[in-house]
Amino acid sequence: MKIFAESHKTVFVVDHCPYMAESCRQHVEFDMLVKNRTQGIIPLAPISKSLWTCSVESSMEYCRIMYDIFPFKKLVNFIVSDSGAHVLNSWTQEDQNLQELMAALAAVGPPNPHADPECCSILHGLVTAVEALCKITEYQHEARTMLMENAERVGNRGRIICITNAKSDSHVRMLEECVQETIHEHNKLAANSDHLMQIQKCELVLIHTYPVGEDSLVSDRPKKELSSVLTSEVHSVRAGRHLATKLNVLVQQHFDLASTTITNIPMKEEQHANTSANYDVELLHHKEAHVDFIKSACLAETKRCQKERGSNKTGDNHIGGNSREGTFKETVTLKWCTPRTNSVELHYCTGAYRISPVDVNSRPSSCLTNFLLNGRSVLLEQPRKSGSKVISHMLSSHGGEIFLHVLSSSRSILEDPPSISEGCGGRVTDYRITDFGEFMRENRLTPFLEPRGSLEIPLERAKDQLEKHTRYWPMIISQTTIFNMQAVVPLASVIVKEALTDEDILNCQKTIYNLVDMERKNDPLPISTVGTRGKGPKRDEQYRIMWNELETLVRAHINNSDKHQRVLECLLACRSKPPEEEERKKRGRKREEKEDKSEKSGKDYEPDKPWQESERLKGVLDREKEELAEAEIIKDSPDSPEPPNKKPLVTMDEMPPVEKAKGPMSLLSLWSNRINTANSRKHQEFIGRLNSVNNKAELYQHLKEDNGMETTENGKGSRQ
């Protein structure tokens, strides 16, 4: 539907002249005697509404239905006309509700029957109505601003519904001519104005209303084009409920509405709470909700014209048999299906349309709407004489609004698809389903009120967060160690954050210390042995893999903030061994590299490299590389060098002889060497003494390092 069709702007012009105070001559009994009351009381005389009351309540009902079904973009401007025009509201969205209109109408009050009829006229209202149609609505304004140079695409059409008591057909013609002239004039004005828009199309709906029992002085006339801009139709309607019925028909026409009657609604009887009777409730909604019925009605008709091929092949064409009788009536009847309790189901829904009950205050209506407003959904079934039941619609409320959902009941073109387990990645069985579920819950969305402090669009923030949370996210269990460890959770859950608090850092540090502790205690790690033969990597190798992975995770976030950087520093300082061993290892390694370039030492470094490179080069982790790197770790692990912490003294044991076997040695030196070696097996050597030059150790070495070299090679400084 076009946004700026005639239905975008509706102007009500209701006559407020003295004769509208006349009674509609339809009596309402309001003093209904309740049973069990003392006999002999004469009920109060019935009262009757005035023409004005009938007009106002019918137009309010028109607005009620319209606002229920189109709370936005369908606007009403309400004008009453007597000696002048009184505009009761504006086109702004805030003014578009029943309460506002009711309050404004109360302020106007009923027409004064004693006012001078000579100075009162509906013409004032009609002129003002045309003026109102030229006024731009906020939606039109928005669309024009957005389209810039194409602003002329924004249409300005509208409808004037005028309820009056006309004197004759010629009086009606006079009113039409007046509207036409006024449009002509105002369009000229609007052409030279930025604030006004020319009226492209105007539908005038003149409703002549008169007391019941009188003869109408005005004849009905269907819609007629008076000019290229103006069409007009005349309805001559008796007041009272006839007028209300007319406006109900009109609101359906004007807003393309259709009616659905829900039948078989079980409802507790007021008097007998344990029995229930079945009730019907009629709802109005946009007619799109019946699109299947309308079209199948066409089908039923076209079917008759269908021709069939020769008798031997008729089988193909006998298709009328199981099709439903598709005659489209005034209302479509659908059967209530008592809802099941599990409401968490995603139906295939092709449309959802707001509803409005025809008889909003009746008990069946309010029972149904309250039931729905309390959060229950009701499936609706097409009544059929035979065959399987077809659920075609669903009633459901969302935040206090009830929608009629259209459910697809035809065959799916997606039936029998290949299962996801047959496709790419379908054979993999150890996806981190639960972890990703947790991830999804953390990345759920929530609405933010529009004027939000920060300038960033909330949805962009959501994307940002997803980016951060997935920088390092292995998809399968056998690809990761750290995410299989409960001990890592405190760090992993906060490191992805945009900013860390001091407490977060503390938690990260605690996590790292805890891991160091685990390593010292030689706790087993949940390393996958999938794809490796035998028992998998040794314990120390496992820790190396774990530390590498943890480093990868932390490195993926170091650019978030300085505090993230601090976590990395802590990690680098803590990972692996007490520093003296590091040092020694390093020294030993250097020598080894120099001397024989053994594969072993090379490999010690290698696995680290792909990680870091991918970090530095791309800033983000390339998934494939990651996989590669990980595969590598697992594969080459059995050949990796002996980690120092397992038999630290053995390494020490082997080194000194190499170092000292250079020159001739005295017996003393031989002896003391031996003693030293033996002793050193019993305790760890002090760092100071180990690194000492001529038995003098330099104190506070790290101060220099901190100041001098920001990033020590692989962070293996002496700081802990």
């Binding site: 076009k2 946004i3 309001f30 003093d31 309740v34 009381i41 109060l44 009262i47 509404k49 009902e61 606002y67 709370p71 009711m102 009050g109 389209l147 695409r153 409920r241 209300a244 079209k295 199948s296 076209t302 014209c305 269908q306 021709k307 193909d316 064409n317 298709i319 409401s343 995603l346 295939y348 829904c349 092709t350 959802a352 909003v360 205050n361 309010s366 969302h398 935040g399 073109i413 997606l414 290949p418 299962s419 996801i420 387990s421 496709g423 790419c424 990645g425 993999v428 389903i433 990703f436 819950r441 929530t446 609405p447 949805l459 923030r461 959501a462 994307k463 920088r471 996210w473 998934r623």
Partner: protein
């Protein structure tokens, strides 16, 4: 989008085509050649498409009902007989019925009409149908536009010059126009020969049967996917924004929502999201799109063993009962979820919402959805026991706000009786009594129905006289007070008719009143 191939088997299709070489071809053979090519393409690259084959002359026949078995379709091509004259209208009517019978009126279909451009003579010819188009009644409607969303592709076994020499081209163009412009006419470029027929069908394939490949992204987690059926471009508003919008080939997940919160939203269309493995040349090896040759089987097996984000996502969505919100383009969103076809088989499915900033009122504006970590406190609660959805609209609907409607007398009577019922239970029901009284007063003032106020005032005064001896003295006071207040309102004098004014209970002092009731 299911396809109906509508093949002309009238005699004119047997006209010979002069081709150099020994064999003699008819136009029919060219058509079969083209269709064979189309079916082969679909069998390889568009396997999930349902296709039906209809042949027609003066009558029509459904040769092959909707199927994914392209062998059957191929076989049917070689079993076609030649019949009499062309009668297109009947065939199109047949297509209408077949499609609606199978798929209903909502599923878009592609109709591939294969003809030689001889559109029949006399009654039932297209010329005749078009000439009488304006004189038809509702029950004898021309089958176009199709009652379902459709594309009509006309494959002419003739070249442009030939069609232009008669008025065939005009007629066919009118046909497309009648289908609201949805469709296209293809003609053979140059002489009629197998090669040119191939290139014509090649164009159709490019236009309508190329698989839609995209990259599904969730931050750094990505997967190459095929989206089936192809998402079609969508026109938001013909007047304001007439250009069709197509979806991005980057499908970016922006966040997740519980199924209960998204709550069966209306969607434009549904699509399977099938992970594919792209090899270096850019060809895909994936499900449902490759031949079952051994080579590809082994390639499939390898692909099956490489972890894929789609499978992970699908698994978690299924377990958690959630959907992923995915951005399809500027102000266009959709959702990904797990769809079970049967107990064993389930799949990752994508539904497209209507384009626009706010496709679902109960979620609000999509751009205003943000991560829960930005909220002051978790809107889902610490124990995951609440939800920020659905959003409440600013104004309540009439059925949720106790509006007053007196169009039917019963509406008015109910409201009056409510007052009366409460009046008889004064002073216990003082609050409800005045609440109902004020509701009636407001409505009567708005509707200018002052007689009602007078009437109800009279009624309350009468009630006052009917009070039993056992009644609390306050009851009489309140009734009199209420009646008097209604009376002044019914005078219409402005100071008593303020809409916002409420009649308040009379302040009485019967100390410890209700307790001492006799």
């Amino acid at each position: 989008m299911p396809t109906v191939v509508v093949m002309d088997v009238s005699l004119s299709m047997t006209r010979p085509v002069s081709v150099e070489g020994s064999e003699e071809y008819q136009r029919k053979h060219l058509a079969i050649h083209g269709l064979t090519m189309l079916f082969e393409h679909m069998a390889t690259n568009y396997k999930l498409e349902f296709t039906a084959l209809v042949v027609f002359s003066s009558l029509w026949e459904l040769m092959v009902p909707f199927t994914r078995d392209y062998n059957t379709l191929q076989e049917a091509l070689s079993n076609m007989d030649d019949y009499d004259k062309t009668c297109l209208e009947a065939a199109l009517l047949g297509v209408c019925n077949i499609v609606q019978q199978e798929w209903g009126a909502a599923i878009p279909c592609q109709v591939v009409l294969v003809t030689d451009g001889c559109l029949g003579i006399g009654r039932g010819s297209l010329r005749h149908s078009l000439a009488t188009h304006n004189q038809r009644s509702e029950n004898n409607r021309f089958p176009l536009p199709f009652p379902f969303p459709s594309k009509l592709y006309v494959m002419c076994m003739a070249n442009l010059e030939e069609l232009q020499s008669s008025d065939s081209l005009d007629c066919l163009e009118r046909l497309i126009d009648l289908n609201n412009g949805e469709g296209q006419i293809f003609t053979i470029d140059g002489p009629l020969c197998l090669k040119n027929v191939q290139s014509m069908f090649g164009k159709l394939i490019d236009l309508a049967y190329t698989p839609f490949h995209a990259v599904l992204k969730c931050g750094h987690l990505t997967s190459d996917v095929q989206v089936f059926p192809r998402p079609e471009p969508f026109i938001i508003d013909e007047e304001i924004d007439p250009t069709p919008k197509a979806i991005n080939t980057d499908l970016e997940i922006v966040g997740f929502i519980d199924i209960a919160d998204i709550s069966s939203p209306p969607v434009l269309s549904r699509h399977l999201v099938l992970p594919i493995a792209l090899n270096k040349e850019g060809d895909e090896l994936g499900p449902g799109i490759t031949d079952d040759t051994e080579d590809e089987n082994s390639a499939n097996q390898i692909a099956g063993k490489i972890p894929n984000f789609c499978v992970l996502l699908h698994g978690s969505l299924k377990v958690e009962g959630m959907v992923a919100i995915v951005q399809l383009g500027p102000e266009w969103y959709g959702m990904l979820y797990s769809q079970a076809d049967s107990k064993k088989k389930s799949n990752l499915m994508m539904s497209l919402f209507e384009p626009g900033p706010e496709p679902l009122p109960w979620l609000g504006k999509m751009a205003q959805l943000g991560p829960i970590s930005d909220a002051k406190e978790n809107p889902y609660g610490e124990d995951d026991n609440k939800s920020p959805f659905p959003l409440q609209p600013k104004n309540k609907r009439s059925y949720a706000q106790n509006v007053t409607v007196w169009i039917k007398p019963s509406g008015l009577q109910t409201d009056v009786q409510k007052i009366l019922r409460n009046a008889r239970k004064l002073p216990e029901k003082t609050q409800t009594f005045y609440k109902e009284l004020n509701r009636l007063r407001k409505a009567a003032l708005a509707f200018g129905f002052l007689d009602l106020l007078k009437g109800v005032a009279d009624m309350l005064e009468r009630e006052c006289t009917l009070l039993p001896d056992t009644a609390h003295p306050d009851a009489a006071f309140q009734l009199t007070h209420a009646a008097q207040q209604l009376k002044v309102a019914s005078t219409g004098t402005s100071e008593y008719t303020a809409y916002d004014h409420n009649i308040t209970p009379l302040q009485t002092d019967f100390s410890g009143s209700s307790a001492e009731r006799m």
